[in-house]
Symmetry: C2
């Protein structure tokens, strides 16, 4: 016999920043992802489910001068080396594409949906495990791939229940910004790949437009900015003329697509890379227009600045434009639910070859929240018909009833707790959101009848509806046992709850 | 500017024992799990998706005398303590039930599906990440819960495509074995919870019936057994009479349920716990029979020995009975695809209270393999219609075609690789398993026509079918551009490929 140390009781909690999903929260997300997958499939994209665990080397997060990998990932050491949970779905795509590049179609259109993990400080609404849903085309440099992603995103949003007019997909281009910076004298086009301090500050400044507004960005482009707490952020040191060129880029949105393009052409005049970027934007707008996507759905908009520092060509962002109240009761637009763009260095780490790629990532939790807010998801939280247990020796009778109901497609279950206290059984039915309870005691059994109790009506009566209003719908009916299924179907129909 | 060390190229491989799933391998599993979820939902079970990461304490795998947790799990240390990937779906259920016990219905019926991780040596067909699919009822001591699980498992197997007659669900009971051991003088019923060396060996011996056969088990029950390699395993030291009682248990299956029950009653005569176990088996058989499940679907079978060491009451196992050829070409039954039973100490670690629970776990990969073997899954691996690019300046024309086809519900995509080599485009369509390619060059465009190429026919012709046989189906047709969608629909129908 081994010694048995008395362990203290473990806490019944998940680790900080992790959570559990129950019932409809799982099924509603599954249903939304299924709809998204249908659209992606129709566009020729193939699903990929890569392993949740990768080598740290493959994820590319290993910092050689620290003992353990980047704190942003969950990583641990095995005999074979450091392993880590994937922190997004793009890094695994790069590994898979490099691994299978001789067998995969080229270009390779793939979508992926699943949890990712971030080893970050959790906060309100910020979790360390969350869902991502990505679609990418690897191996095509054509703007056709970018236009297709934008069209597919538009179809996807409408498919899951966002009405046309309630969203807009905005398209910008990193090359245009590069051209602007060239014109402003911040960037040398012959040394595009070379990082300069100044350019980094410009990119970071632009990325802060949403948060700081134009004036804040202007300060960061110039000498610098002191924030409310008095902290000073060093600026890029541009002179006013330079800063105005960059600001002009963010304000280049015209009344029409043609006007926007003209504004941009004007700004990048003389920069080859800038002109190439404007050409790309023009191509995308023509390609989506030819498929019938007008600027009410997909629009060129140079004020899209998120991700410009990361992507290498077109950048897209989908925003929901309907208004909601924020925590402080102020009205604001719902905002971004998806974003993406072109990144041409995906696979290079593995193979040395540059492979063009472009893709989109949908914020699954945000999109689901939007659909719930707009009432676009029918909360199918209706519980099962509960068959109460009046006589504990007749579980087989009750289970036979449940079986008959299920055969008719009706969700049903027998109460299997301690049947002694009937009040507990009704409390259970209430907790289960049951529409109907079935009662068959000894007397009913002998008379060949069952009681069918309308729990929806019961709840409405409890809320104050007068019996008068409901006289056509008695709260409890007594029916012959053989009519059980038909009468339950009729009551569900009267409740408006049949599917 | 930071120093940039030149890193060696990472290997494009997942960690050992991990794998990726592509295309239909993902969608077929999703579809099977969706069907299973439908059945579970109909029975009143609610889905639970717990976090993939748990504290090591909550998983209960922490060994206090080693530096790191049990090698069977993937675990790592954070500031807050040791975290680990879940190794099954039962341990997280215990944590969730203990955490939410005041809000969850009681009894709580829940199902869960998702990946689990095992830090074990990978081997052929043995992976370190795999899917589980569990259903459990927590908080009910009623045999009604066990009978329900067995009925639900039967419905589930038929729903996903296992025909009646191709499977059997066998039910055994740990209490009967305890009774047998009491009668054989191996177990003292007043000290049931106390572990004895002898009993442990008996349980392990019984668990090896599948592998060693009756004679091997008989040796292990007695003095011991020498295996083929000459290694000796110490036996339980039972005398022949004792061993025969235990062996009798495994052979107690009768021609009818009544006969099996009579055999068992005979064997456990005088043991209270044994008689309770036989009563439980009888109750389950009556309960499932009352719902119409005969012994062709759910049968009492004392030869089910797997898990008897782990479970505390009823034990169930679902086997597929149709025959397959194994790797060596021998005919054998497909075997087990699901198993489970009653375990009454699930939540005790957290709360100190004993909570009865019973449940089942389906081997997702094995069941899927069985369905594929039986041809019960339509491989919907059909690729999209591929629109080739004859004129790279007219991507918008081609994307408009794809858009029209998709609007008609037809999966379609434009070739977005380098269009220079038309052979590459057809090779691509082949890799994509495309049924049809569309061709519209400059001449076609000017004449207002498109070419529709039948790639299925092409493949059949390449395989040797004579043109004669296919004369009614020309390999390539020329149709007016505005008839594109209608003609593609007609060709898919002729190919027998419309959905």
């Amino acid at each position: 016999m081994g010694k048995q140390k008395k362990e203290p009781k473990p806490k019944a909690l998940p680790p900080k920043g992790f959570r559990d999903y129950f019932g409809v929260d799982v099924s509603e997300r599954s249903e939304m992802l299924r709809q998204i997958a249908d659209v992606y499939h129709l566009y020729g994209f193939e699903q990929l489910e890569s392993s949740a665990v990768e080598t740290v080397e493959a994820l590319g997060k290993f910092l050689p001068d620290v003992d353990r990998p980047n704190e942003g990932v969950f990583a641990w050491q095995e005999d074979e080396g450091w392993l880590a949970l994937r922190y997004d779905l793009t890094a695994p795509l790069a590994r898979v594409y490099a691994q299978y590049r001789n067998d995969l179609p080229s270009p390779y259109r793939r979508f992926a949906m699943g949890p990712v993990w971030r080893n970050e400080k959790p906060g309100p609404g910020r979790f360390r495990q969350f869902y991502q849903c990505d679609a990418d085309t690897v191996g095509s440099a054509s703007m056709g791939a970018d236009a297709e992603i934008c069209a597919m995103l538009s179809d996807t949003l409408e498919r899951v229940g966002i009405a046309r007019g309630d969203y807009i997909i905005r398209v910008n281009n990193r090359k245009v910004l590069n051209g602007i910076m060239e014109v402003a004298g911040i960037l040398d086009p012959t040394e595009l790949d070379k990082f300069t301090e100044e350019r980094g500050i410009v990119l970071r400044a632009i990325d802060k437009l949403d948060r700081l507004g134009l004036e804040g960005v202007r300060q960061l482009l110039g000498a610098g900015r002191k924030d409310d707490s008095g902290d000073f952020t060093q600026g890029a040191g541009l002179n006013d003329a330079q800063a105005e060129i960059v600001i002009g880029f963010m304000q280049a949105l015209g009344a029409t697509t043609a006007e926007t393009l003209a504004n941009l052409r004007n700004l990048v005049e003389g920069s080859a890379i800038g002109e190439a970027g404007v050409d790309e934007m023009e191509q995308i707008s023509e390609l989506v227009a030819a498929q019938g996507y007008g600027s009410d759905r997909i629009v060129l908009d140079p004020s899209v600045v998120r991700g410009l520092g990361y992507y290498t060509g077109p950048v897209y962002e989908a925003e929901l434009t309907f208004e909601i109240k924020d925590e402080k009761g102020r009205t604001r637009q719902f905002g971004s639910v998806a974003g993406g763009g072109r990144y041409d260095n995906l696979v290079k780490r593995f193979t040395g070859q540059e492979v063009p790629a472009t893709g989109i990532s949908i914020g699954v939790d945000r999109l689901l929240a939007a659909l719930r807010m707009k009432g676009r998801i029918e909360r199918s939280s209706l519980g099962p018909v509960v068959i109460t247990v009046m006589d504990r020796d007749r579980i087989s009778d009750y289970q036979a009833m449940a079986s008959e109901l299920r055969t008719a497609g009706i969700r049903a279950e027998v109460y299997l707790g301690n049947p002694k206290n009937f009040g507990n059984q009704l409390k259970y039915a209430d907790n289960r959101s049951s529409p109907i309870a079935i009662i068959e005691g000894r007397d009913e059994k002998e008379s060949g009848i069952v009681q069918i109790k309308d729990l929806i009506l019961g709840a409405q009566l409890a809320k104050g509806a007068t019996l008068e209003e409901w006289k056509a719908r008695p709260g409890q009916i007594e029916v012959p046992r053989q009519e059980l299924v038909a009468q339950v179907i009729a009551m569900l129909a009267a409740q408006g709850l049949t599917e």
